[in-house]
Amino acid sequence: MAFDIHEILEKKGITVPEHHQDMLKAQMAGFEELRQTVDQDQLKDSDMALTHIPGGEQG
């Protein structure tokens, strides 16, 4: 599904200056390229480095 960056941000209540719109498109296009570096097959077997510690103690 094609998405409109401006629309997504506006729906969140964020006012986006007009001159940011092309910059955001370019940034997210670059981000899509970075996403291609992610090895999805490898991640299927990976844990995540984020855990919730009951009680909040890590010490």
């Binding site: 997504i8 955001l24 991640l43 990976s46």
Partner: protein
């Protein structure tokens, strides 16, 4: 007027203060004289606290004269990045939104420095909310690089880098979320140490991205960095990311021999697309270390290729969560670049974030396996020499590339993994310092410091000084 005392390190000054040969007041006056002389141009300070500093120096002097010497930091003038809270004092975070914010408690690191008898000369400039790496601050003015006033000092702790390099502070603290201690340290020709995540409490430090943020020393020498690390280390129940590991006597663990050192080199990632002058200088140091007995070992860390994705997603998402309410309420109060990055963070998905944390886990495992066969990893800190103020791009061997994309390429993995990493100056190219990064195993900062001490002993910065010193 030459302020010779202000050029010295903590390691040189402490014995003089302890033996009462040097007055903390005289030392503080020299540091403040440098601020007066240089800061109009450099703009490293957001606020200078002259009267307060002189009063604190007089008190330190009185205590020392009475036989109550507290230790190596007693009577040492420092200035900290304006993101660390001092009770009943303003902390602006380099922002307009928090320009009148007054903290009602001391950050844990501030409290420790106060207990050690440090004299604070003021609050240092930074990239707004630490969300960027140029220190071209729209609210307090751009901070300039003391080596070349047309260039950026790096960031986000650019004021700390510039102040220490121009002797407007004997030492400083910075914060580092993608490289914000090591980038300005490299750019300004000083030492910058990001310790292991959890080693130094972040209580009382305004967050940029909780899971990536670190506090660490920015100093003139490796010894000074070790001294500050041992003082500031320790478990703090007020910081949920603090870990209970015993502090070590880091300043007493600096001696080692090159022949005991095994250095890992990850060519594919950490030497990919590096400015030829930077690359040449780092390889020169590696050759020197090898010639004196160190073993250089090629290593592979395959998941590094995913590190830029994980860093970008994690930092933008967490930063946008921190600032979400203000982005909705008063977006015009953010600087243009920070507002843009906060918008980017709002576009990341939950899946992106979780996958980034999976990549971090892969990196943790691969780095840990690597450090079973090497003591440290060495790389350039930055793949380029710092660009002019206002430039959004950097030149790497004739290619014009995005500054923001390139600047955290080599430092970001240290934040993703939380591993200790230090930048040390190793020479000057094109009038600008070159930094070398040393990474080490978790909670073994002594290995990083030992390798740094060996490099420091090569005296590669001898005869080089920022232009203001000439």
């Amino acid at each position: 007027m030459s302020q010779e005392l202000a050029k010295k390190s903590i390691g040189e000054l402490a014995p003089l203060i302890q033996s009462k040969q040097l007055s903390p007041v005289e030392l503080t006056e020299q540091v403040l004289a440098n601020v007066e002389q240089f800061d109009g141009e450099i703009n490293a300070y957001i606020a200078v606290q002259k009267e307060q500093a002189l009063e604190a120096a007089a008190q330190a002097e009185q205590e020392i004269q009475s036989g109550n010497y507290r230790g190596a930091l007693h009577g040492i003038p420092m200035a900290l990045k304006d993101i660390l809270y001092f009770k009943d004092e303003k902390a602006t975070m380099g922002s307009s939104i928090h320009s009148e914010f007054v903290a009602d408690f001391d950050a844990t690191v501030v409290s420790k420095l106060k207990m050690a008898g440090v004299t604070f000369t003021g609050k240092l400039n930074m990239h707004e909310y630490a969300w960027g790496a140029t220190t071209t601050n729209p609210h307090f003015g751009p901070c300039k690089n003391p080596w070349d006033l047309t260039k950026i000092p790096g960031g986000s702790s650019g004021g700390s880098g510039a102040a220490v390099a121009s002797h407007m502070a004997i030492a400083s603290l910075g914060t580092d979320t993608g490289g914000s201690i090591r980038i300005p340290a490299s750019s300004c020709g000083i030492i910058g140490l990001k310790p292991t995540h959890g080693r130094i409490s972040k209580y009382g430090c305004f967050p940029l991205a909780w899971s990536l943020d670190h506090i660490g020393p920015m100093t003139k020498t490796v010894y000074d960095a070790a001294l500050l690390l041992e003082l500031l280390s320790g478990y703090d129940p007020k910081d949920p990311t603090s870990l209970d590991r015993p502090a070590k006597n880091f300043s007493g663990l600096l001696e080692s021999e090159a022949k005991e050192l095994v250095i890992g080199i990850e060519e594919q990632y950490f030497f990919n697309n590096v400015d030829s002058q930077v690359d040449e200088q780092v390889r020169y140091v590696l050759k020197q270390l090898e010639d004196t007995g160190a073993v250089i070992k090629p290593v592979r860390i395959p998941s590094l290729k995913q590190a830029e994705f994980a860093e970008l997603v994690t930092i933008t998402t967490e930063a946008s969560a921190v600032h979400h309410a203000n982005l909705l309420k008063s977006p015009e109060k953010f600087g243009e670049d920070v507002r843009f990055l906060l918008e980017v963070g709002e576009l990341m998905s939950g899946v992106d974030y979780v996958q980034s944390q999976q990549i971090r886990r892969k990196l943790d495992v691969e780095f840990a396996a690597t450090f079973e066969s090497v003591d440290v990893l060495i790389s350039p800190t930055l793949p380029f020499l710092v660009p002019p103020i206002g430039s959004q791009t950097v030149d790497i061997n004739g290619q014009e590339l995005s500054y923001l994309d390139e600047v955290i390429r080599f430092t970001g993995p240290g934040n993703l993994t939380g591993l200790p990493a230090l930048s040390i100056p190793i020479g000057v190219k094109g009038g600008l310092p070159v930094g070398l990064q040393i990474m080490g195993p978790a909670f073994e900062e002594e290995k990083v410091l030992q390798a740094a001490a060996l490099i420091e002993s090569m005296e590669l910065m001898k005869g080089h000084a920022p232009m203001l010193e000439k």
